[in-house]
């Protein structure tokens, strides 16, 4: 396909009118409200629902909520999450009644694309995309966050305590007269 080149008109060839037009835009902005921000001294206010870095959360009693089901690892599009399951011999979960928690949980923040699939897929409400958007470090290794770091950054989450509810239910039934 041949694109036809339009000849410039005389007005356009004069050049100066276009320059003046440009300066007019600049001048207009001198008298408008500033849109820039003095980052990093001045920080941006993160709106609710913002998808920042994913962190693990603890429940009201400070226990790990994650049960190492590895659905986030499976769903993660850039494969940023890596979970080491506890295996048969590792200790039981710190939260009563749930038998399983991750031995190690790593998120490579360099790989993470902040899509929020992990939060969406989590059956335990244990991982949330929070408000951190500025993740920096001097080395690549530092940006692979391990379980301790993710839990420390994630804080507490006041959600339902599924396993605790179940434990209470079980306890009530122990009193029920069906014991042999």
């Amino acid at each position: 396909m041949i694109v036809k080149r339009q000849k410039l008109t005389l007005w356009e060839r004069l050049y100066l009118p276009a320059v003046i037009g440009g300066f007019k835009v600049t001048l207009r902005h001198f008298f408008k409200k500033k849109v820039t921000m003095q980052y990093p001294e001045e920080k941006w206010v993160v709106p609710p629902g913002y998808r920042g870095a994913p962190y693990l959360v603890k429940d009201q009693e400070g226990n790990t909520k994650c049960v190492s089901c590895q659905l986030c690892e499976f769903v993660c599009p850039p494969k940023a999450i890596r979970i080491t399951p506890p295996g048969p011999d590792w200790k039981l979960a710190d939260r009563p009644n749930a038998e399983k928690m991750p031995k190690e949980f790593e998120i490579n923040m360099l790989r993470c694309i902040f899509c929020g699939f992990c939060q969406e897929v989590c059956p335990e409400e244990a991982i949330f995309l929070q408000q951190d958007y500025s993740l920096t470090s001097n080395t690549r290794e530092e940006l692979i966050y391990n379980k301790e770091k993710l839990l420390a950054l994630g804080g507490q989450h006041a959600g339902i305590q599924k396993w605790k509810q179940k434990a209470e239910e079980t306890k009530k039934q122990e009193a029920f007269p069906v014991k042999p």
Partner: protein
């Protein structure tokens, strides 16, 4: 079970075929099928007729290799039979077809025999409602532990709930809670809450294994699976109940919480722990083996495998695997240098001064290449017998997976190991100066370290470090069976192939690859560079394997006369 296997392999007497209709499709089904336990003919059931036309009828308690229990009610279907008039003659429709009377009640497909002209309906609105209702009942007390349940991903309850279940639960009462983490046996952990009481495990251990160890106690919602008091569920086949369990009630202590099943790559392979050669599926992820599971092959292992073979995989991921080619005095070497050096040494060796001790754990192809090498060098060859206690089901007293192959290829005679004293004496007298050892620690089998010290050249290929490998002039790191492809011949002469699941560590290479190079350089005759070609060449040259090709072996192998 062995009886059933033989009845299947020998030609059974012709069975009368009857015609039934499944969802409007006509199918010819034998009137009787052999009982999975005794092999006696028993009436064919509706579920088998449905399977014949690939119509999937959901089921929990039914298993083709177990006696029918009919307790889960998941396979309920509707059916109709030809109407009979008062004269016991079929009533015909105006168009001449037999009139079908639909049964007023549904029937369980797994336990209802078929009759001529029967019509089975598996997708009527009533059937859908029944499935929904059965699932609702099964889920009443099911704990929804899926995030922490090892069965998640291969759970029939999950699958059928998605396919046939209701989206939401109407059950608002608290669920009945039962014991979790029950220690049922040394290899089995039981979660009673998850159990749907299908009794597959009970029937398996009673009727297949003959160890009546399990049973259900209590009533109604409180029914609980337990081992009989004072009995431990510890026979050699307990882990099959984990495969059989449609939910996550019975879990393997070995595999517990190790990896979610959807991450595992499944590779068709063979168990190499005894001469039976059970067909297996290897579950691996990122070059690590997580589990073995049996794969159906009615000519070998039905759908079972023994715990001994199933748990015998941990050595593959061991840290101290031989992973470097080493030359004289233990220095690091490379494949090209080592092959060249070995070729030179073998070329200089006088005929008869070389002996080869192969392993009956090697593949047919590797033994075939070693035999070629032996023929060229006029070498004595033998292998090391390995025996243990067998049982009546699957475990064979011969613990070598390929003794038959070694015998058929001519590596050893019927009395495996009879040449080893001769080889030892030959080394002692100085007649044998070069010894090639594959996959065996000969210091434990009659050739002591002192005797090995007298050799001019000791070439060892092995997977794990051994005394023999320590003394070797050349160490060639080999592969476990899950790291290469090949074929093995089981005790009954079944030639079966296995596929590669993971990458070998370090320099390690499949033995057939470097043996092929070595044979080429020593004998000067080139062979095939692919395992398929190599197998086909072996099939032409070894009389016992004549007529076989890699392709015709299929997934379940071919039996050759032994």
């Amino acid at each position: 079970m062995s009886q059933a296997a033989t009845t299947q392999s020998s030609t059974p007497p012709p069975v009368e075929k009857i015609t039934v209709k499944v969802d409007g499709r006509e199918v010819q089904v034998p009137r009787t099928t052999p009982d999975p336990i005794s092999g006696r003919p028993i009436p064919t059931t509706m579920i088998q007729a449905c399977q014949a036309v690939q119509v999937d009828v959901p089921h929990y308690c039914y298993h083709p290799k177990l006696p029918v229990a009919g307790n889960c009610r998941m396979c309920l279907v509707e059916f109709g039979t030809p109407a009979l008039g008062p004269d016991r003659k079929p009533v015909l429709n105006p168009d001449g077809t037999p009139k079908i009377v639909k049964s007023p009640r549904p029937a369980i497909a797994c336990a209802t025999p078929i009759s001529p002209g029967m019509e089975i309906y598996t997708n009527t609105p009533a059937v859908k409602q029944m499935r929904e209702a059965v699932l609702e009942f099964l889920l009443i007390n099911h704990p929804l532990d899926c995030p922490i349940c090892d069965q998640a991903g291969e759970c029939k309850l999950q699958e059928y709930s998605v396919d046939y279940g209701k989206a939401e639960s109407r059950f608002v009462e608290p669920k009945v809670h039962k014991p979790k983490r029950v220690d049922l046996g040394p290899r089995i952990a039981l979660d009673d809450e998850r159990c749907i009481l299908c009794t597959r495990c009970i029937r398996f251990t009673r009727d297949i294994v003959g160890d009546d160890a399990l049973g259900i106690v209590n009533r109604g919602s409180y029914s609980t699976l337990t081992a009989y008091p004072g009995k431990v569920f510890d026979n050699n086949y307990t882990l099959n109940t984990v495969d059989l369990c449609p939910v996550g009630a019975l879990t393997s202590k070995d595999f517990r919480f190790k990896m979610r099943v959807w991450f595992l790559k499944e590779t068709r392979s063979l168990c190499t722990s005894c001469g039976t050669g059970c067909n297996i599926i290897v579950g691996s992820r990122e070059d690590k083996i997580y589990r073995y599971e049996p794969r159906q092959n009615d000519a070998v292992n039905s759908t079972w495998m023994c715990d001994y073979g199933r748990l015998n995989y941990k050595w593959i991921n061991r840290e101290d695997r031989l992973s470097h080619v080493r030359g004289p005095n233990g220095q690091r070497s490379g494949w090209a240098t080592a092959t060249k050096d070995i070729t030179e040494r073998l070329a200089k060796a006088a005929p008869g001064s070389v002996a080869i001790i192969a392993s009956a754990r090697q593949t047919n192809e590797e033994l075939f290449l070693l035999k070629k090498l032996a023929a060229k060098l006029n070498a004595l060859t033998d292998s090391v017998p390995r025996t243990g206690e067998g049982d009546r089901l699957l475990l064979n007293p011969d613990r070598n997976p390929n003794s038959t192959g070694a015998r058929l290829i001519g590596i050893c005679t019927d009395r495996m190991g009879e040449q080893i004293p001769k080889i030892a004496a030959g080394i002692e007298q100085g007649a044998i100066k070069t010894l090639i050892v594959f996959g065996e620690d000969v210091t434990k089998h009659g050739i002591s370290a002192a005797v090995l010290g007298k050799l001019e050249t000791l070439i060892v290929s092995d997977i794990l470090p051994s005394e023999t490998a320590k003394l070797a002039h050349y160490v060639l790191p080999g592969c476990a069976h899950v790291e290469k492809r090949g074929t093995m011949t089981n005790v009954k002469g079944r030639v079966q192939k296995f596929m590669k699941a993971i990458e070998p560590p370090g320099d390690a290479r499949p033995e057939w690859e470097f043996l092929h190079e070595l044979v080429f350089q020593v004998t000067g005759s080139d062979g095939y560079r692919s395992i398929e070609g190599l197998f086909n060449q072996m099939a032409q040259e070894v009389p016992a394997f004549n007529g076989l090709t890699w392709a015709t072996l299929g997934d379940t192998g071919v039996t050759v006369p032994t």
